[in-house]
Amino acid sequence: MSPLWRNTPAGNAPLESAEAFSQLYERSHLQVFRYIYGLLGGPRQEVEDLTAETFTRAWKARRRFEGSEQAALGWLLRIARNLVIDHSRRQNPLSLPEDFENLLVAPAGQQPEEQVLHREQSRVLWKMLHILPDRQREMLVLRYMLGWRVKDIGEFLQMPENTVSVNIRRILSRLRRDWPGE
């Protein structure tokens, strides 16, 4: 099992000190932020607030965390997921974030026309991503926005690796099939 989320004891409260927690924050805050952004869809300010709240809650609960330091990332994402679920119940339907283009990293070597196409398609995909069922969206966020391996996603979501792999292929296929404009 991946060390990311197994609950192997690694001493008492390994995140108790400010130093240990600060290191965890430095290493993981981008992943937590992107995970929340991917699940919620924006806007940025709310994603930032939820990211901050994730770490604040984790800090308050740090003495109860007994896993290895690496397992803390899975723990943080579970806190984040619960916050997103609570938040989504109160949220209006998704609209594209005002600073949508700041989400994107342009692939290297694109011509201007390709960049425009990339942005157009990204807008379509972002909307499609956020009408997917929550679990399907979470798989894509973990796989592509956070760059996790299928094996690690399976362990985090407690699903067989092969199931995750098949599901991701199906979701991609469905996105392609349902792509608007043709």
């Binding site: 981008l30 994603v47 930032e48 991609l172």
Partner: protein, 277 residues
Amino acid sequence: MDQRKSFAKPDEEAIETLLRAFQPRPGERFYARMAGAPWQGTAASAGATPRSGRIRLRRAGLAALALVIVLAIFFTLPPLQGTAYNFFQLFRRRDSDTLPLVLRTPSPPGPDFSLTIPEAEALAGFPVRQAENLPDGFVFNAAAYDPERQAVMLDYTSPLAGNFLRIVQIKMDESTLNVGSIGASAPVRLVAFQNAQGATITGEYVTGAWSLPSISTALEHSQPSLTVTMQASWDPQANIHMLLWQSEGILYEIIHADATAQQLHPDTLIRIAESMR
């Protein structure tokens, strides 16, 4: 712009590329807020005594410095004036088993591992290959980019103390001569494998590392700001091994430290190399 093209259905591979390009980052507002978080203060805020906090921080700093030194020697070594090298294809064999190093405290910042693969690719301008097959326990942490050497570094973390794994990918030009420095006595083993693109590759494999046994003593008694020149020695017994090869204009280097020494075998690194796509 061709409107038909803009609304064309991307295939699944293109959708994957689009998904990978969603890489938002927090803004200044977030970082300003988090700068005041309770864990960002002194150790005293966590209930530890200031003295123990200082000791821990110093030790953490030393560990980080030692790692920087190891990594700097392997793939970010600046040109050393007055040193002689013999070339063994890709690895650079020095003419002795010692290496003079100028160390400073506080140490200069190491690679900033805060990038995703797409971000590193965008900065580097070449495709960055990610390993699918990793030694047990390792997970991808983040990437860093060194613009001076056009080098992308991928960092993988392990829960086991003393273990690390980094994969370096460098666009080959004159600057790539600054990688893979090894001691004069280090045996280089040629290994063959097939990469994920189907090409047969010949790589160079070395076990060992440069070590600085007196670094802790020297720096623990130092002033906050100090410059010292030290001799690193090539240690063939170090639990570190490396694999270096080139393909399509890119130089690849895998550096793996295994504190248990159980995985110090060429097959470990070959499996990683074969899975890079």
